[in-house]
């Protein structure tokens, strides 16, 4: 049931709420699923030294990133009883308030989805070579650091 393992993860620009809604709708034919858990990363308009972040521009080492996404997916299916899993990450410019990361796990039972989702999100942050350039309203920038 670990379908869609080879679908591409990267999407150009922001991930729309309509796309997320449609992804949810597609799972309503899978009647063995009892619980979904969805993580969304949204770009914050942080203020640093009186300058506001207006967007993040994402770049990635795509070949290595896809290898890592695949490994994370395999590890999660191995560790947790999941019916399906989808990961989408933006490349290019994502404005403040827009969504840059969408992770979606589904399982017959709820307890597993919480653990699986956190495992996947933390692994993405740690292991996938994606780089965020935080762009201020005056078009200056700094490089994003994950905490």
């Amino acid at each position: 049931m670990s379908d869609n393992r080879t679908k591409s993860v990267f999407k150009e620009g922001a991930i729309s709420s309509v796309f997320i809604g449609e992804s949810i709708a597609k799972h309503q034919t899978k009647t063995s699923i009892g619980a979904h858990n969805i993580f969304l990363g949204q770009v914050r308009a942080d203020v640093i030294d009186n300058k506001i972040i207006k967007a993040i521009e994402y770049t990635a080492h795509e070949e290595m990133a896809n290898t890592k996404f695949h490994e994370i997916r395999e590890a999660a299916f191995e560790k947790y009883e999941l019916t399906c899993m989808h990961i989408y990450h933006s490349l290019g410019v994502v404005n403040a308030g827009e969504i840059c990361l969408f992770v979606f796990v589904s399982s017959p039972r709820r307890k597993v989805v919480f653990k699986a989702l956190e495992f996947i999100v933390e692994a993405i942050k740690e292991k996938v070579p994606v780089f965020g350039k935080e762009i201020f309203e005056d078009n200056s920038h700094q490089w994003k650091v994950n905490s």
Partner: protein, 77 residues
Amino acid sequence: MKIKIRYFGMLTEVTGCEEEIIDFPEVVISELLEMLFIKYPKLKDKKFQVAQNNELVPFKTKISSKEIVLLPPFSGG
């Protein structure tokens, strides 16, 4: 031996390029880095990891690929 070296994120601001091809006689990544530190003195101050064949590798690893990648700290999501 000609090696393609790729840079990502903030490292591209130190090197002024995203990739370059260097003719390099040595066999260990740390030796390649020593050469890059001479070419780009500011690179020494940056935190980065090295990947070859889509895997992070220690600096003492032998070069076994035509492509070596320098990656600053990841900041996806």
